[in-house]
Symmetry: C2
Amino acid sequence: MYKAKVYVTFKEGILDPQGKAIKGSLLTLGYDETEDVRIGKFIELQLETVNKVTAEVRVKEMCEKLLANTVIEDYTFEIEEVEQ
Amino acid sequence: MYKAKVYVTFKEGILDPQGKAIKGSLLTLGYDETEDVRIGKFIELQLETVNKVTAEVRVKEMCEKLLANTVIEDYTFEIEEVEQ
């Protein structure tokens, strides 16, 4: 069994209103050191593949097809073997 | 300048309907190896603090107060120094 951790973030230059709202809230709460906030998705997948290379190929496909909108989002992922 | 990467996930046992929906979509697309999907938030913060320890203390506070709902969510974070 493999666990994939996928991180999906907006590309540079794409507006992130949710991040902007959270930055505003942090400043209101007194966290004046906050310069920038960006919100993304963190997706954990449990996969039953024969090996790690297959998991990597499949997760890349999943990201391209479904998990990320590659027009406006970037993604990275890491895969580790886990106990069943 | 420090960059904090915060990962917010549902606690074990908390239902994750968005993850369930994505699992369903992946299975429909033919990714039969998908055993489980959990969706969380990935928050990147740029912070202007005097040192890394201060950044850690402040980010922990931000998570407890605003970034995570600690009744139903867990969080972890890592902090690295970055160029201005």
